[in-house]
Protein backbone atom coordinates (compact mmCIF):
# COMPACT_ATOMS: atom_id res chain seq x y z
CA UNK A 1 0.00 0.00 0.00
CA UNK A 2 1.18 3.42 -0.95
CA UNK A 3 1.81 5.61 2.08
CA UNK A 4 0.26 9.06 2.44
CA UNK A 5 2.80 11.79 1.90
CA UNK A 6 3.75 14.72 4.11
CA UNK A 7 5.12 17.45 1.88
CA UNK A 8 6.67 20.67 3.12
CA UNK A 9 6.35 23.43 0.59
CA UNK A 10 9.02 26.06 0.33
CA UNK A 11 7.93 29.26 -1.36
CA UNK A 12 11.03 30.77 -2.86
CA UNK A 13 11.41 34.43 -3.66
CA UNK A 14 14.69 36.19 -4.45
CA UNK A 15 16.63 33.07 -3.38
CA UNK A 16 15.14 32.84 0.12
CA UNK A 17 12.23 30.84 1.50
CA UNK A 18 9.29 33.09 2.25
CA UNK A 19 5.78 32.66 3.58
CA UNK A 20 2.82 34.96 3.36
CA UNK A 21 -0.72 34.84 4.66
CA UNK A 22 -3.42 34.29 2.03
CA UNK A 23 -0.69 34.61 -0.60
CA UNK A 24 0.25 38.11 0.63
CA UNK A 25 2.75 39.91 2.87
CA UNK A 26 5.70 37.61 2.33
CA UNK A 27 8.27 37.32 5.08
CA UNK A 28 11.65 35.59 4.81
CA UNK A 29 11.78 32.37 6.82
CA UNK A 30 15.20 30.93 5.95
CA UNK A 31 17.74 29.68 3.44
CA UNK A 32 16.61 27.24 0.76
CA UNK A 33 19.29 24.62 1.34
CA UNK A 34 19.18 24.75 5.16
CA UNK A 35 15.42 24.20 5.22
CA UNK A 36 15.59 21.49 2.55
CA UNK A 37 18.16 19.55 4.58
CA UNK A 38 16.20 20.04 7.80
CA UNK A 39 12.97 18.67 6.32
CA UNK A 40 14.81 15.83 4.58
CA UNK A 41 16.34 14.76 7.89
CA UNK A 42 13.03 15.04 9.74
CA UNK A 43 11.43 12.51 7.40
CA UNK A 44 9.57 14.59 4.82
CA UNK A 45 8.34 12.37 1.99
CA UNK A 46 8.90 14.97 -0.68
CA UNK A 47 9.56 18.68 -1.04
CA UNK A 48 7.98 21.27 -3.27
CA UNK A 49 9.77 24.48 -4.19
CA UNK A 50 7.60 27.22 -5.60
CA UNK A 51 9.46 30.14 -7.09
CA UNK A 52 6.51 32.40 -6.45
CA UNK A 53 8.09 35.42 -8.09
CA UNK A 54 8.92 33.68 -11.36
CA UNK A 55 5.51 33.64 -12.98
CA UNK A 56 4.58 37.14 -11.96
CA UNK A 57 7.87 38.75 -13.00
CA UNK A 58 8.35 36.72 -16.15
CA UNK A 59 11.43 34.97 -14.80
CA UNK A 60 12.32 31.29 -14.59
CA UNK A 61 13.81 29.37 -11.68
CA UNK A 62 17.59 29.33 -11.75
CA UNK A 63 19.01 25.84 -11.98
CA UNK A 64 21.88 26.41 -9.56
CA UNK A 65 19.82 26.09 -6.40
CA UNK A 66 18.05 23.09 -7.93
CA UNK A 67 21.43 21.38 -8.35
CA UNK A 68 22.44 22.34 -4.84
CA UNK A 69 19.27 20.77 -3.45
CA UNK A 70 19.72 17.57 -5.50
CA UNK A 71 23.25 17.26 -4.20
CA UNK A 72 22.18 17.50 -0.56
CA UNK A 73 18.91 15.61 -0.23
CA UNK A 74 17.85 12.07 -1.15
CA UNK A 75 14.09 12.39 -1.34
CA UNK A 76 12.08 13.50 -4.36
CA UNK A 77 11.40 17.15 -4.98
CA UNK A 78 9.32 19.19 -7.34
CA UNK A 79 10.14 22.62 -8.71
CA UNK A 80 7.55 25.15 -9.78
CA UNK A 81 7.69 28.67 -11.02
CA UNK A 82 7.41 30.23 -14.43
CA UNK A 83 8.15 27.06 -16.41
CA UNK A 84 6.72 27.75 -19.85
CA UNK A 85 8.46 25.28 -22.15
CA UNK A 86 9.90 21.78 -22.51
CA UNK A 87 13.37 23.32 -22.72
CA UNK A 88 13.00 25.13 -19.39
CA UNK A 89 11.61 21.99 -17.75
CA UNK A 90 14.50 19.93 -19.11
CA UNK A 91 17.03 22.19 -17.41
CA UNK A 92 15.22 21.81 -14.07
CA UNK A 93 14.81 18.03 -14.36
CA UNK A 94 18.37 17.49 -15.57
CA UNK A 95 19.56 19.51 -12.59
CA UNK A 96 18.08 16.84 -10.33
CA UNK A 97 14.44 17.75 -9.72
CA UNK A 98 12.01 14.85 -10.05
CA UNK A 99 9.00 16.80 -11.19
CA UNK A 100 8.08 20.18 -12.47
CA UNK A 101 4.88 21.88 -11.47
CA UNK A 102 3.13 24.28 -13.80
CA UNK A 103 0.41 26.70 -12.90
CA UNK A 104 -0.10 30.10 -14.58
CA UNK A 105 1.74 29.24 -17.85
CA UNK A 106 -0.45 26.13 -18.23
CA UNK A 107 -3.57 28.23 -17.85
CA UNK A 108 -2.31 30.56 -20.59
CA UNK A 109 -1.29 27.66 -22.83
CA UNK A 110 -2.78 24.31 -21.75
CA UNK A 111 -0.86 22.36 -24.43
CA UNK A 112 2.20 22.89 -22.25
CA UNK A 113 0.94 20.06 -20.02
CA UNK A 114 0.71 17.70 -22.97
CA UNK A 115 4.15 18.70 -24.26
CA UNK A 116 5.74 18.09 -20.87
CA UNK A 117 3.98 14.74 -20.36
CA UNK A 118 4.97 13.64 -23.83
CA UNK A 119 8.61 14.50 -23.32
CA UNK A 120 9.18 13.44 -19.71
CA UNK A 121 6.24 11.19 -18.80
CA UNK A 122 3.20 12.10 -16.72
CA UNK A 123 5.00 11.23 -13.48
CA UNK A 124 7.16 14.34 -13.97
CA UNK A 125 4.27 16.72 -14.55
CA UNK A 126 2.43 18.31 -11.64
CA UNK A 127 -0.23 20.94 -12.12
CA UNK A 128 -0.63 23.43 -9.32
CA UNK A 129 -4.12 24.86 -9.07
CA UNK A 130 -5.01 27.89 -6.98
CA UNK A 131 -8.72 27.65 -6.33
CA UNK A 132 -11.11 30.03 -4.60
CA UNK A 133 -14.86 29.98 -4.02
CA UNK A 134 -16.48 32.87 -5.90
CA UNK A 135 -20.27 33.07 -5.77
CA UNK A 136 -21.02 29.38 -5.13
CA UNK A 137 -18.40 27.99 -7.46
CA UNK A 138 -14.71 27.17 -7.23
CA UNK A 139 -12.70 29.26 -9.66
CA UNK A 140 -9.05 28.98 -10.75
CA UNK A 141 -6.77 31.93 -10.04
CA UNK A 142 -3.51 32.60 -11.83
CA UNK A 143 -0.38 34.56 -10.96
CA UNK A 144 -1.11 34.36 -7.25
CA UNK A 145 2.54 34.97 -6.26
CA UNK A 146 1.81 38.66 -5.96
CA UNK A 147 -1.46 40.24 -4.85
CA UNK A 148 -1.18 42.85 -7.60
CA UNK A 149 -1.10 40.23 -10.35
CA UNK A 150 -3.50 37.59 -8.95
CA UNK A 151 -6.19 37.08 -11.55
CA UNK A 152 -9.59 35.42 -11.58
CA UNK A 153 -9.40 33.26 -14.75
CA UNK A 154 -13.16 32.57 -14.81
CA UNK A 155 -12.30 28.89 -15.33
CA UNK A 156 -14.19 26.56 -13.03
CA UNK A 157 -11.79 24.47 -10.96
CA UNK A 158 -13.76 21.33 -11.75
CA UNK A 159 -13.39 21.94 -15.51
CA UNK A 160 -9.70 22.65 -15.21
CA UNK A 161 -9.10 19.43 -13.25
CA UNK A 162 -10.83 17.41 -15.99
CA UNK A 163 -8.79 19.19 -18.63
CA UNK A 164 -5.35 18.79 -17.04
CA UNK A 165 -5.96 15.04 -16.65
CA UNK A 166 -6.84 14.74 -20.33
CA UNK A 167 -3.67 16.61 -21.20
CA UNK A 168 -1.49 14.15 -19.26
CA UNK A 169 -0.84 15.71 -15.86
CA UNK A 170 0.51 13.17 -13.38
CA UNK A 171 -0.48 14.93 -10.18
CA UNK A 172 -2.44 17.91 -8.92
CA UNK A 173 -1.57 20.16 -6.02
CA UNK A 174 -4.81 21.84 -5.06
CA UNK A 175 -4.17 25.08 -3.20
CA UNK A 176 -7.38 26.08 -1.46
CA UNK A 177 -6.60 29.78 -1.47
CA UNK A 178 -8.82 31.07 1.29
CA UNK A 179 -7.14 28.58 3.67
CA UNK A 180 -3.61 29.49 2.69
CA UNK A 181 -1.46 30.41 5.67
CA UNK A 182 -4.38 30.85 8.06
CA UNK A 183 -3.86 27.50 9.81
CA UNK A 184 -7.47 26.60 10.56
CA UNK A 185 -7.62 23.28 8.73
CA UNK A 186 -7.65 21.97 5.18
CA UNK A 187 -10.67 22.59 2.95
CA UNK A 188 -12.11 19.08 3.29
CA UNK A 189 -15.27 19.89 1.36
CA UNK A 190 -13.50 21.30 -1.68
CA UNK A 191 -10.85 18.58 -1.63
CA UNK A 192 -13.44 15.79 -1.62
CA UNK A 193 -15.30 17.44 -4.46
CA UNK A 194 -12.16 17.73 -6.59
CA UNK A 195 -10.65 14.34 -5.66
CA UNK A 196 -13.90 12.65 -6.68
CA UNK A 197 -13.27 13.67 -10.30
CA UNK A 198 -9.54 12.82 -10.34
CA UNK A 199 -7.88 9.62 -11.48
CA UNK A 200 -4.47 11.08 -10.72
CA UNK A 201 -3.04 11.83 -7.27
CA UNK A 202 -4.25 15.03 -5.61
CA UNK A 203 -2.18 16.72 -2.92
CA UNK A 204 -4.07 18.85 -0.39
CA UNK A 205 -2.68 22.32 0.16
CA UNK A 206 -3.67 25.27 2.31
CA UNK A 207 -4.81 25.47 5.91
CA UNK A 208 -2.61 23.14 7.98
CA UNK A 209 -2.35 24.52 11.51
CA UNK A 210 -2.17 21.50 13.79
CA UNK A 211 -1.32 17.82 13.70
CA UNK A 212 -5.03 17.14 13.85
CA UNK A 213 -5.54 19.04 10.61
CA UNK A 214 -3.25 16.53 8.89
CA UNK A 215 -5.11 13.64 10.47
CA UNK A 216 -8.44 15.13 9.35
CA UNK A 217 -7.43 15.69 5.75
CA UNK A 218 -5.87 12.23 5.46
CA UNK A 219 -8.80 10.41 7.08
CA UNK A 220 -11.64 12.50 5.59
CA UNK A 221 -10.33 12.72 2.02
CA UNK A 222 -8.45 10.41 -0.34
CA UNK A 223 -5.71 12.97 -0.93
CA UNK A 224 -2.38 11.32 -1.75
CA UNK A 225 -0.65 13.64 0.63
CA UNK A 226 -0.81 16.84 2.57
CA UNK A 227 1.29 19.86 1.77
CA UNK A 228 2.07 22.57 4.29
CA UNK A 229 4.46 25.42 4.79
CA UNK A 230 4.06 27.74 7.75
CA UNK A 231 3.50 25.05 10.40
CA UNK A 232 6.90 23.63 9.52
CA UNK A 233 8.70 26.92 8.89
CA UNK A 234 7.48 28.32 12.20
CA UNK A 235 8.43 25.10 14.02
CA UNK A 236 4.96 24.53 15.46
CA UNK A 237 5.91 20.85 15.32
CA UNK A 238 8.41 18.83 13.39
CA UNK A 239 7.69 16.30 10.68
CA UNK A 240 9.03 13.37 12.63
CA UNK A 241 6.65 14.04 15.54
CA UNK A 242 3.79 14.58 13.10
CA UNK A 243 4.44 11.22 11.45
CA UNK A 244 4.62 9.42 14.80
CA UNK A 245 1.24 10.95 15.68
CA UNK A 246 -0.33 10.00 12.33
CA UNK A 247 0.94 6.42 12.62
CA UNK A 248 -0.63 6.19 16.09
CA UNK A 249 -3.86 7.34 14.45
CA UNK A 250 -3.56 4.25 12.20
CA UNK A 251 -2.69 6.14 9.03
CA UNK A 252 -0.40 4.47 6.51
CA UNK A 253 2.68 6.68 6.84
CA UNK A 254 6.33 5.96 6.02
Amino acid sequence: MLTRRIIPCLDVKDNSVVKGVRFRNHEIVGSIIDLAIKYNNEGADELVFYDIGASTYDGVVSKEWVKAIAEKINIPFCVAGGIKSVEQAKVILNSGADKVSVNSPAIERPELIHELANEFGSQCVVVGIDSLMIEDDYIVYSKTGDENTATNTSIKTIDWIEKVQELGAGEIVLNCMDRDGVRDGYDIYQLNKMISISNIPVIASGGAGSMKDFKNVLTQTNSSGALAASVFHKNLFNINDLKIYLKKESLNIR
Binding site: L2, R4, N74, L93, G96, F120, C124, P201, R254
Partner: protein, 192 residues
Protein backbone atom coordinates in the same frame (compact mmCIF):
# COMPACT_ATOMS: atom_id res chain seq x y z
CA UNK B 1 35.45 1.49 -8.56
CA UNK B 2 33.89 3.53 -11.37
CA UNK B 3 30.25 3.23 -12.32
CA UNK B 4 29.01 4.09 -15.78
CA UNK B 5 25.70 5.91 -15.85
CA UNK B 6 24.29 5.24 -19.28
CA UNK B 7 22.87 8.50 -20.59
CA UNK B 8 19.73 7.53 -22.45
CA UNK B 9 18.33 11.00 -22.73
CA UNK B 10 15.99 10.99 -19.74
CA UNK B 11 16.38 13.33 -16.83
CA UNK B 12 17.50 12.30 -13.35
CA UNK B 13 21.11 11.61 -14.34
CA UNK B 14 22.28 14.17 -11.82
CA UNK B 15 20.30 12.59 -8.99
CA UNK B 16 21.95 9.24 -9.62
CA UNK B 17 25.35 10.88 -9.90
CA UNK B 18 24.82 12.67 -6.57
CA UNK B 19 23.56 9.54 -4.81
CA UNK B 20 26.74 7.65 -5.71
CA UNK B 21 28.83 10.70 -4.86
CA UNK B 22 27.30 10.71 -1.35
CA UNK B 23 28.51 7.09 -1.07
CA UNK B 24 31.99 8.13 -2.23
CA UNK B 25 31.72 6.33 -5.58
CA UNK B 26 33.00 7.81 -8.85
CA UNK B 27 30.75 7.78 -11.87
CA UNK B 28 30.97 8.51 -15.58
CA UNK B 29 27.85 9.79 -17.33
CA UNK B 30 28.00 8.96 -21.02
CA UNK B 31 26.27 7.49 -24.04
CA UNK B 32 29.51 6.65 -25.83
CA UNK B 33 30.53 2.99 -26.02
CA UNK B 34 34.19 3.99 -25.84
CA UNK B 35 33.77 5.97 -22.66
CA UNK B 36 31.58 3.31 -21.06
CA UNK B 37 33.77 0.31 -21.92
CA UNK B 38 35.73 -1.38 -19.14
CA UNK B 39 33.97 0.21 -16.15
CA UNK B 40 33.12 -1.78 -12.99
CA UNK B 41 29.34 -1.53 -13.01
CA UNK B 42 26.57 0.29 -14.86
CA UNK B 43 23.35 2.09 -14.14
CA UNK B 44 20.60 2.35 -16.69
CA UNK B 45 18.53 5.23 -15.37
CA UNK B 46 15.07 5.79 -16.60
CA UNK B 47 12.92 8.81 -16.61
CA UNK B 48 10.88 9.51 -19.69
CA UNK B 49 9.21 6.80 -21.70
CA UNK B 50 10.21 3.29 -22.80
CA UNK B 51 10.05 4.19 -26.49
CA UNK B 52 12.18 7.32 -26.06
CA UNK B 53 14.81 5.45 -24.06
CA UNK B 54 14.94 2.51 -26.52
CA UNK B 55 15.16 4.89 -29.48
CA UNK B 56 18.07 6.68 -27.85
CA UNK B 57 19.89 3.41 -27.13
CA UNK B 58 19.35 2.43 -30.76
CA UNK B 59 20.64 5.77 -32.04
CA UNK B 60 23.77 5.48 -29.90
CA UNK B 61 24.29 1.80 -30.89
CA UNK B 62 24.13 0.81 -27.24
CA UNK B 63 21.66 -2.08 -27.42
CA UNK B 64 24.14 -4.88 -28.05
CA UNK B 65 26.67 -3.18 -25.80
CA UNK B 66 24.24 -3.34 -22.87
CA UNK B 67 23.11 -6.90 -23.56
CA UNK B 68 26.74 -8.04 -23.60
CA UNK B 69 27.78 -6.38 -20.34
CA UNK B 70 29.05 -8.99 -17.87
CA UNK B 71 29.56 -6.55 -15.00
CA UNK B 72 26.59 -5.65 -12.73
CA UNK B 73 23.93 -3.49 -14.36
CA UNK B 74 21.22 -1.71 -12.37
CA UNK B 75 18.12 -0.61 -14.27
CA UNK B 76 16.06 1.96 -12.43
CA UNK B 77 12.33 2.48 -13.17
CA UNK B 78 12.12 2.60 -16.98
CA UNK B 79 15.69 1.28 -16.93
CA UNK B 80 14.23 -1.85 -15.33
CA UNK B 81 11.21 -1.95 -17.64
CA UNK B 82 13.31 -1.98 -20.81
CA UNK B 83 15.15 -5.06 -19.55
CA UNK B 84 11.95 -7.01 -20.35
CA UNK B 85 10.89 -8.08 -23.84
CA UNK B 86 8.16 -5.58 -24.58
CA UNK B 87 6.43 -2.51 -23.15
CA UNK B 88 2.88 -1.39 -23.81
CA UNK B 89 4.19 2.17 -23.43
CA UNK B 90 4.51 3.33 -27.03
CA UNK B 91 4.26 -0.31 -28.25
CA UNK B 92 7.99 -0.75 -27.70
CA UNK B 93 10.27 -3.73 -28.30
CA UNK B 94 12.74 -3.75 -25.41
CA UNK B 95 16.05 -5.44 -24.58
CA UNK B 96 14.62 -8.90 -23.82
CA UNK B 97 17.10 -9.69 -21.06
CA UNK B 98 14.25 -10.74 -18.76
CA UNK B 99 11.18 -12.68 -19.90
CA UNK B 100 7.88 -10.86 -19.87
CA UNK B 101 6.27 -7.58 -20.67
CA UNK B 102 5.36 -4.21 -19.22
CA UNK B 103 1.73 -3.18 -18.79
CA UNK B 104 -0.10 -0.06 -17.71
CA UNK B 105 -1.82 0.12 -14.32
CA UNK B 106 -5.60 0.19 -14.69
CA UNK B 107 -6.62 3.47 -13.08
CA UNK B 108 -9.86 4.16 -11.28
CA UNK B 109 -10.97 6.34 -8.38
CA UNK B 110 -9.40 4.00 -5.84
CA UNK B 111 -6.17 3.51 -7.79
CA UNK B 112 -4.68 6.72 -9.05
CA UNK B 113 -2.13 6.42 -11.84
CA UNK B 114 0.79 7.17 -11.82
CA UNK B 115 1.67 5.38 -8.62
CA UNK B 116 3.35 8.30 -6.95
CA UNK B 117 4.96 8.08 -3.54
CA UNK B 118 6.48 5.69 -1.03
CA UNK B 119 5.52 2.05 -1.09
CA UNK B 120 6.76 -1.10 0.55
CA UNK B 121 9.20 -3.51 -1.07
CA UNK B 122 8.96 -7.09 0.19
CA UNK B 123 11.88 -9.25 -0.91
CA UNK B 124 12.56 -12.97 -1.06
CA UNK B 125 14.25 -14.36 2.04
CA UNK B 126 17.84 -13.93 0.90
CA UNK B 127 17.34 -10.18 0.28
CA UNK B 128 14.89 -9.41 3.05
CA UNK B 129 17.33 -6.97 4.65
CA UNK B 130 16.30 -4.67 1.78
CA UNK B 131 12.62 -4.68 2.79
CA UNK B 132 11.33 -1.18 3.41
CA UNK B 133 9.72 1.89 1.91
CA UNK B 134 11.01 3.21 -1.40
CA UNK B 135 9.92 6.02 -3.70
CA UNK B 136 7.94 5.07 -6.82
CA UNK B 137 6.72 7.20 -9.73
CA UNK B 138 5.38 4.88 -12.40
CA UNK B 139 2.34 4.25 -14.57
CA UNK B 140 3.63 0.92 -15.90
CA UNK B 141 4.62 -2.34 -14.21
CA UNK B 142 5.55 -5.89 -15.13
CA UNK B 143 3.27 -8.88 -14.59
CA UNK B 144 6.25 -11.19 -15.15
CA UNK B 145 7.72 -13.17 -12.26
CA UNK B 146 10.84 -14.24 -14.15
CA UNK B 147 13.81 -13.84 -11.77
CA UNK B 148 11.66 -11.82 -9.36
CA UNK B 149 13.37 -10.96 -6.07
CA UNK B 150 10.97 -8.43 -4.56
CA UNK B 151 7.36 -7.34 -4.82
CA UNK B 152 5.23 -4.25 -4.30
CA UNK B 153 1.47 -4.00 -3.90
CA UNK B 154 -0.36 -1.39 -5.97
CA UNK B 155 -3.72 -2.67 -7.14
CA UNK B 156 -1.79 -5.81 -8.05
CA UNK B 157 1.18 -7.45 -6.37
CA UNK B 158 3.92 -6.98 -8.95
CA UNK B 159 7.64 -7.58 -9.37
CA UNK B 160 9.48 -4.44 -8.29
CA UNK B 161 12.94 -6.01 -7.86
CA UNK B 162 14.37 -8.43 -10.37
CA UNK B 163 17.79 -10.05 -10.66
CA UNK B 164 18.84 -12.15 -13.59
CA UNK B 165 22.54 -13.01 -13.74
CA UNK B 166 24.35 -9.66 -13.59
CA UNK B 167 21.23 -7.61 -14.39
CA UNK B 168 19.30 -6.06 -11.52
CA UNK B 169 16.18 -3.98 -12.04
CA UNK B 170 14.21 -1.94 -9.52
CA UNK B 171 10.92 -0.21 -10.23
CA UNK B 172 11.51 2.28 -7.39
CA UNK B 173 14.03 5.11 -7.35
CA UNK B 174 16.81 4.23 -4.88
CA UNK B 175 18.48 7.59 -5.57
CA UNK B 176 15.38 9.26 -4.09
CA UNK B 177 14.57 6.76 -1.36
CA UNK B 178 16.41 8.25 1.59
CA UNK B 179 18.10 5.77 3.94
CA UNK B 180 16.55 2.63 2.43
CA UNK B 181 17.63 3.77 -1.03
CA UNK B 182 21.20 4.26 0.11
CA UNK B 183 21.19 0.80 1.60
CA UNK B 184 19.91 -0.60 -1.68
CA UNK B 185 22.65 1.13 -3.69
CA UNK B 186 25.20 -0.26 -1.25
CA UNK B 187 23.77 -3.73 -1.90
CA UNK B 188 24.17 -3.12 -5.63
CA UNK B 189 27.80 -2.10 -5.06
CA UNK B 190 28.46 -5.36 -3.22
CA UNK B 191 27.51 -7.23 -6.39
CA UNK B 192 30.12 -5.26 -8.35
Amino acid sequence: MIIGIIDCGGANLNSIYYSFKRLGINTVISNSKNELSGLDAYVLPGVGSANAVMQCLKDKSLIDFIKNITKPVLGICIGMQIMYEYSEEGDTQCLGIIDGKIKKFKSDKSLTVPQMGWNKLLCNDDLKSLNGHYYYANSFYTDSTDSAMGYTEYGVNYTSLVKKNNFIGCQFHPEKSSVSGEKFLQYFLTTA
